[in-house]
Point group: C2
Chain length 201, copies 2
Amino acid sequence: MSAAPVGTREIGRHAVRAELARVAFDRFCLTGFNQVTFADLAEAAGVSRSTFLRYFGTKEDVVLFVFDPVGDVITDALAAERPDQDEGDWSRLRDALESAVGFLVRDVQELVTILGLVERTPALCARLREKQAEWRPEIVARLQETTSSTDGSPVVAHVRVAAALEILWIVLGQWSASDGQEDLGQLLDAAFAAFSTPAGR
Amino acid sequence: MSAAPVGTREIGRHAVRAELARVAFDRFCLTGFNQVTFADLAEAAGVSRSTFLRYFGTKEDVVLFVFDPVGDVITDALAAERPDQDEGDWSRLRDALESAVGFLVRDVQELVTILGLVERTPALCARLREKQAEWRPEIVARLQETTSSTDGSPVVAHVRVAAALEILWIVLGQWSASDGQEDLGQLLDAAFAAFSTPAGR
DNA sequence: TCATGACTGATACTGAGTGTCAGACTAGGA
DNA sequence: TCCTAGTCTGACACTCAGTATCAGTCATGA
């Protein structure tokens, strides 16, 4: 799923990439994303601008490449869960999202910092949403192929996946606003309650 | 709500903007969004590059400025509906979305063309999602201030609005794929069914 | 030891978007 | 009618993201 580095070349490349991202991230937090240029980053990292650009296609990717595997994490989680057959879509999506946040939350403080930077930088928000949109079709397919499929329209699955992915960012935003204090499982439950409670009428 | 042109200056500016957008749109459809430069557009429209850039801050806005009022349309619609008090959030959001699509669908063929262009141009998708994210806080506030507020967490309103806005694009995508044939009201119903049907368990 | 292929830095280029400036135009008051 | 203040325009210069090319260097594996 993730770009598992195999071969010495790949390992080295992976390590360099991580180091460049680390240096760059400090700069972004210090000065602000838009204020930092590739020339600045290259100088700070001690490489040429060309080299820096070879490791990251765009400036956004320097920050957001850590989110790349999330799509696969979610699809894999959907495929893996199967012990008790008849779970509803919402329940399955909730669990898949729990896998996703589990993957992301390794260093709490780091993730909080990243989310803060993303939140106050429109360009990063936009690019992240773009990634999210790329994940969607595969997740929808996985959800549909293992669902009871008693639901009428095919759009229903699309809508549910889209809603779930929205929840992911809402919950992460809420969580990072609490500085990583709140419990992510509870936040997910509270968010998914938007669909289970009758909501009037 | 929309930028109502008042004063001769404003009227003129509005008209020029519309004409520039029209010329540009033809080019985009003919050659592809990314292949067309501001220099091309300026030449095609018979103005200087500077002037063109003064009317539209970014290339994306040349296409997407038509969506600008949608946020206000939705908030206004939420505020306006009130005849029978106790409607649920979903029902209210559905009706507000119907106002939004009603606002957008004036020339069917034109909207279908725009949506097609947006769909096959990642940069346009991203910018449109950015606009959507800007609308959200206000819509959430409006929904909350006129809701029965029996729901527990404040995130619930956020989630419902986010989900509804996702539905907007999913439904419009579906609709434009059918070349504007399908009924938008029915599509909205089908999409919102994702929340009303129990979804297993 | 050598050949292949990858990595690097240098350089040049396109195009988006910003800022400034001087001149032309126009609305609106005297 | 004339004047003035504010607006619109084209021209120009600039920064920076992102693409592409090329020659030199270095590690790997035969």
